[in-house]
């Protein structure tokens, strides 16, 4: 750390306006530099995240007391739909591949840019256009979609609300996801530095790579499914309308054929971030590199075959329930391999509890609760009574917020010093982490308990006997909000006023840490020669 104190951020690297072709903001929104596009994704997705957090907190506020507290049932429906749509399609799915993937995947493989830079900026534009189309439905005369983010028919077809625009926006965002996926796969295959073997790829690259395959193969199904909703609304061929022979269950199948893999689009890249952070702060080679890489692909493959577990109560055959339940247990195997390997990496490691590591460790804890509660839902027997309750809400948030969300926060604390070349206040970061962790568990564990007691989800009203736990949960949301506030302020402050850091404040071994912070506009002046694996902390060569 002593060398870091002497360093100043004299060169602003790719952030320097002199590196852009166009003046002012146009140098960003028309840039083809993967790092600038990564930052565009970074800020736009995090902006939507904060928007959806506010929606989520207002839902919790509504559930503080039984009956209407601050809003009507209709407003509650609008808000939980927009919360889901924004969080899923505008934040969690695009964030890691779009922001961290764009920023660091090309650098980690030793490339100077992604394979198709112009496609890359097009992909961000599609994302922004799609997001605005989806959100304009808020201003529609008939009100925004109030179907929930799953857009189940027949309601989404009959709904007088403006479902069409919301859905159209999501289709456009979907195409942006596909283009990013194509870019990531092609970059990994063809733009690696010549000396970089597949076995030397950082696990973050493996997980973005695995995710990208799911993105390009699953997202088109979502596109066609949502297009069918629009077609059904506009032309009314009745493809899902039982009166005209259609089957609403077919919609659910098509929707979950995409949306279950989408859960892995959200969580696989998060696992990649964790696989980067843990070896660095344990100063130890990752335990079972190949098992980690293969389990990414195994999760990506088996994750496409489990969609039916969302539909156990839809009246599907017992055989189908059995097969989907079994497959769901099978997915738990590669996930468990990852958890065991992370903990094995810690064993006899030289663990330093820096903020990224704290987030990574709490990720393992929260993901474990999320995963195990998932197994309870995967068992057809216990699924039936729990399916329509808050248990599912609690489980889902443990996996996606506790899992993907905390991994993203860890990634922010890990990589933000690289992006801006400045370090945040570590004490404040640790405080933010502790407050977030406490708030998170109070908020969502209360939901799991509420679900076991039988409180239905998707309702703004509940029986008086659920009041205590609901109050606890709502208070948890305030604590979580405070934690988020501290974290955001601390990170924003570091961007402008933080202490400058050198190339490699964490002593990591992957390629992005060989560059200056912020990375130069052209990444590598000459192609890097990779002489060691991404987690070789034993060898001491040119990387300091």
């Amino acid at each position: 750390m002593s060398e870091a104190q002497q360093v100043t951020v004299s060169d602003r690297g790719f952030l320097d306006p002199r590196h852009s072709k166009y003046p002012w903001v146009f140098g960003w929104v028309f840039s083809t530099d993967h790092k600038r596009i990564g930052l565009l994704y970074f800020y736009s997705t995090l902006g939507f995240f904060l928007m959806a957090v506010i929606l989520g907190m207002s839902m919790r506020l509504e559930l503080l007391t039984p009956g209407g507290t601050i809003m009507s049932a209709q407003t509650y429906n609008d808000i939980f739909t927009m919360h889901g749509v924004i969080m899923i399609f505008l934040f969690v799915v695009p964030f890691v591949p779009g922001a961290f993937g764009n920023l660091f995947l090309p650098i980690q493989v030793g490339a100077n840019d992604v394979a198709f830079p112009r496609l890359n900026i097009l992909s961000w534009w599609l994302y922004i256009i799609g997001a605005f189309v989806a959100l304009t439905s808020v201003f529609a005369r008939t009100g925004p979609a109030d179907t929930g983010w799953t857009f189940y028919v027949p309601f989404s077809v009959k709904d007088i609300h403006d479902v069409t625009w919301t859905v159209l926006g999501i289709i456009v965002v979907g195409f942006s996801t596909i283009l990013t996926g194509i870019n990531m796969i092609t970059t990994t295959h063809f733009l690696r530095a010549k000396s970089m073997q597949w076995r030397q790829l950082p696990l973050f690259v493996w997980s973005i790579y695995g995710t990208a395959w799911v993105q390009i193969l699953a997202t088109p199904i979502l596109a066609i499914t949502l297009m069918l909703i629009i077609v059904d609304r506009v032309f009314q061929p009745g493809l899902f309308n039982p009166v005209k022979g259609g089957d609403p269950i077919m919609y659910e199948h098509l929707f979950w054929i995409y949306s279950h893999p989408a859960v892995y689009i959200m969580v696989l890249p998060a696992m990649g971030i964790i696989s980067e952070i843990i070896p660095v702060f344990a100063r130890k080679r990752i335990f079972g590199y190949w098992a980690m890489a293969v389990s990414v692909l195994a999760i990506a493959c088996t994750g496409t075959l489990v969609w039916g577990h969302h539909m156990f109560v839809s009246g599907m055959s017992n055989m189908a329930v059995f097969v989907f339940s079994l497959m769901t247990f099978v997915v738990a195997i590669p996930s468990a391999i990852k958890v065991f390997n992370w903990t094995s990496t810690l064993y006899k490691g030289s663990v330093s509890l820096e903020p990224p590591m704290l987030f990574a460790l709490s990720f393992i804890f929260l993901f474990l609760i999320g995963g195990l509660s998932g197994l309870i839902l995967a068992s057809a027997g216990s699924n039936v009574p729990l399916h329509a309750t808050h248990f599912v809400v609690g489980h889902f948030h443990y996996v996606i917020f506790g899992g993907a969300g905390f991994a993203i926060f860890g990634g922010l604390h890990y990589w933000l010093p690289k992006i801006y070349g400045r370090m945040y206040n570590k004490t404040a970061a640790t405080v933010a982490w502790a407050v977030l962790l406490i708030g998170f568990n109070v908020l969502y564990f209360a939901m799991i308990l509420l679900g076991i007691e039988g409180m239905p989800r998707r309702s703004y009203h509940y029986l008086a006997k659920f009041t205590v736990l609901n109050v606890i949960s709502t208070v948890g949301s305030w604590v979580l909000g405070i934690g988020l506030f501290i974290m955001v302020i601390n990170l924003l402050h570091s961007i402008f006023r933080g202490r400058p850091v050198g190339k490699n404040p964490w002593g990591a071994r992957t390629l992005e840490w060989t560059l200056t912070s912020p990375p130069p506009a052209e990444n590598f002046a000459e192609e890097p020669v990779v002489t060691h694996g991404p987690y070789d902390f034993e060898t001491k060569d040119e990387i300091s």
Binding site: D113, P220, P237, G246, I257
Partner: protein
């Protein structure tokens, strides 16, 4: 900054195009899945509805698309052998084929619409449920496919203009090749759509 953008590596441009083709296959796959599921449920209604369509127009459209594919492939060969004019002419031929295809569609759809068979038509909604579904899927699938033919024709037309402007040359023809791949894919979709909607009685 965008030196990589100018970097011509045909291998990965082709690879990226194939990845895009996979996404298209998955997208149409959703419609084929729906078709399969509903056909299993209403086999009689589906085979009965098949007779309403004009087999001749469908067959003509198959021939038209395949000819377009042939022209596209020949256009690439012509360009690589240095005959720019021939290449442009062949691409124009493909665009004409695309236009003919859409014209046939127009003929066929107007015939069916005049018979009162279109989504949400009072006449259609009184038919059997399997028939309503069949024609619903028919309009959606062929409509989406028709949009792809239109897109493919426009793209190949633009490629012809690029050849005129020397943006595509005998040495650097990956854009044309990828556009050709798109057309072939649209063609192959038709190879599946045609038997499913016109032939399977």
């Amino acid at each position: 900054m965008n030196h990589v953008a100018e970097h011509k590596d045909h291998t990965y441009a082709r690879f990226g195009m194939w990845l895009f083709l996979f996404t298209e296959i998955m997208m149409f796959g959703g419609l084929f899945l729906l078709y399969t599921s509903y056909r299993i449920r209403f086999p009689q209604d589906f085979s009965k509805s098949t007779h309403v369509l004009s087999l001749w127009l469908g067959a003509a459209n198959s021939a038209i698309l395949l000819t377009g594919s042939l022209f596209t492939t020949l256009a690439i060969f012509a360009l690589r052998r240095g005959s720019r004019r021939l290449s442009i002419a062949l691409l124009a031929g493909t665009v004409v084929m695309g236009g003919l295809f859409l014209f046939n569609h127009y003929l066929e759809w107007s015939k069916e619409i005049l018979q009162g068979i279109y989504p949400n038509a009072p006449h259609l909604d009184q038919m059997a449920r399997g028939e309503i579904l069949y024609f619903g899927l028919y309009y959606v699938t062929l409509g989406l496919h028709g949009l792809h033919v239109l897109t493919g024709s426009i793209i190949l037309g633009v490629m012809a203009i690029f050849i005129v402007w020397h943006r595509i040359t005998a040495e650097d023809y990956i854009k044309l090749e990828n556009s050709g791949l798109f057309w072939h894919m649209v063609d192959i979709f038709w190879i599946f759509i045609f038997p499913l909607y016109y032939l399977l009685h």
